[in-house]
Subunit: 342 residues, 2 copies
């Protein structure tokens, strides 16, 4: 790797070794903050509803609803992703999707993203521009644009993504609105990313179906705004695991939730991978957090359109000390989900 | 220091040593992510214009203007601040003020902040809650509230602050609107934080007047929205140094800028400190970036109210290769200002 503070103009110096040496690539250190920011903003697609985009002190984004929905997520190399497991463009997509899931879980559509990036000076500039391109591409798929950001030096690649969304006149769907008798449903597959993580952790790079699901989840996030229109009573994105995140709805709403294992079917592919690794695939479905499906509750009798799929029902609040979220009426005895610092 | 992953319940265990041991304090690792977030959100004051505050997937903030102004800043321990030089509450204030300056430099008033925090597991929880309290206090002084955030583990304390603002029907003041003949003015003192940094770097803790200016700058940020109403043609917040940031206005506007050294007076206190350290105080005024005053251009003949103070004029664009920003008509030959990775 190039040293942390190389002098300027090191990129592709004539007469130097060509190919195979990281030192020949332009790095953040060789280009400097402003040139890298210029290179990144030049590749960002413009989005509708953006009055002032990147390049000034701040961006100006339309908020036609008269309200703006905002959420922030931090992603740290080695904690939330591993640079040695995924390409920068995939890491960018993954960060954008995880961050936008929070906006869609309120029933809003993402409109704009701002990106804070901290990275070591010897990071190849191409890694950062590709990460930015991945963020922008994932945002564009939901109609949102990257409108600004910040770039600074740090020991370890850290990505802070703040997403703005528009409610389009709808009522925000909180965690606190679930009522006994409501249907519990999810939109998007679950367990696949956890299987991919298990495979990668063993040093394997395939099957691609599960490894790819971990690298870049593809939840149907537009199901969130649809759920809001359908009258969803509570909603959350599953980032800590299905049991943990339904637990947040149960706690905020003062209810219990019972999942039906018959409705939460283990896909044959996950069963195969689990068998090969000696793992329990149902644990991936119940506690895996990296697929980012949406989970919501709907009034009893609601006719749920795809991709929403019923997986359980809302019950009355459990007695003190009992599990708020059960599977077939019984407390789950595995690891409940991920929590930082634990 | 406590180990990175101590078991739960370590806070103030009876029978253990009292006082003087960091291990007796609750840490992020001993409390866990969710308990720390609950402790932080419990202390955050509510702000007007917030429909949904912290605690759900996302916040919902009013945007009465129908547009939202957004900006993001990253702050890394050892790069932007030093945990051994300032209290957590001061670091929080500093991060909020630096981030809000970008919003005010567009002519907008801050309405809400979201905070991404990454910190080592052995960080005392009190440091994080005090940092959050500092952020919230500085935001509240401008009428804004902290409405959400994220907390995750990392090797080094990193703070990502995204600020939203409201234009109140005004036109955003960009960097690109300066015209030859315009007045150049600043609002807020400059050079004090650079003097404080020079003092701290030598291992001193006083004079308090300059050290305090570095720890918590106090720029008159509401001068930004006032400038917008007064017809400012261009505006920026001075975060990289006066010459560097006026250079951004000059480049975006296609003009030159000449500063009058007679208008940019070195305060006696800074002259004393500079003399004691063997430094040039004018270099602090021209290149120091941590005071976060606002710099703007106004049409010739504008009657500037306090705290705006004329320091120069806008000229025609310099010939190729010549300095875009000059002092008394001459290029400045010192270090032009800070740039990351350089």
């Amino acid at each position: 790797m190039a040293s942390a503070h190389v002098s300027s103009g090191a990129g592709g110096a004539p007469g130097g070794p060509t190919g195979g040496t990281a030192a020949a690539q332009p790095t953040l250190g060789s280009m400097g903050e402003f040139a890298v920011i210029d290179a990144m903003t030049a590749t960002m697609p413009t989005a509708v509803g953006v009055e002032v985009g990147p390049g000034d002190d701040a961006a100006v984004v339309h908020a036609p609803d008269g309200r703006v929905v905002v959420s922030c997520d931090m992603f740290v190399d080695g904690v939330h992703f591993r640079s040695d497991w995924a390409a920068p463009e995939q890491i960018g997509r993954r960060c954008a999707i995880a961050a936008m899931a929070d906006i869609c879980a309120m029933g809003a559509m993402p409109t704009a993203l701002v990106i804070g990036l901290a990275a070591p000076a010897d990071t190849p500039t191409a890694h950062i521009t590709e990460l930015g391109a991945g963020l922008a591409a994932a945002a564009a798929e939901l109609g949102a644009g990257v409108v600004g950001g910040d770039l600074t030096s740090a020991d370890r690649l850290t990505v802070a993504v703040t997403v703005f969304g528009d409610m389009r006149g709808a009522r925000p769907v909180l965690r606190s609105g679930a009522r006994p008798g409501d249907i519990v449903a999810i939109a998007g597959r679950i367990g696949w990313a956890a299987a991919g993580l298990a495979v990668l952790s063993r040093g394997f790079r395939s099957p691609v179906a599960v490894v790819g699901a971990y690298k870049v989840p593809e939840p149907p996030l537009s199901a969130g705004p649809i759920a809001a229109v359908m009258g969803a009573t509570a909603m959350i994105d599953v980032s800590d695991g299905l049991l943990a995140d339904l637990g947040h709805i149960a706690a905020a709403s003062g209810v219990g939730i019972d999942i039906s294992s018959a409705a939460l079917v283990v896909p044959p592919r996950l069963a195969e991978v689990a068998s090969a690794l000696g793992k329990d695939p149902m644990a991936w479905l119940l506690t895996g957090g990296d697929d980012h499906p949406l989970a919501a509750t709907f009034p009893a009798g609601s006719d749920l359109p795809a991709p929403w799929q019923q997986i359980g029902i809302v019950t009355t609040a459990p007695v003190a000390g009992a599990a708020a979220v059960t599977v077939d009426g019984t407390a789950y005895d595995g690891d409940p989900g991920y929590q930082h610092f634990r």
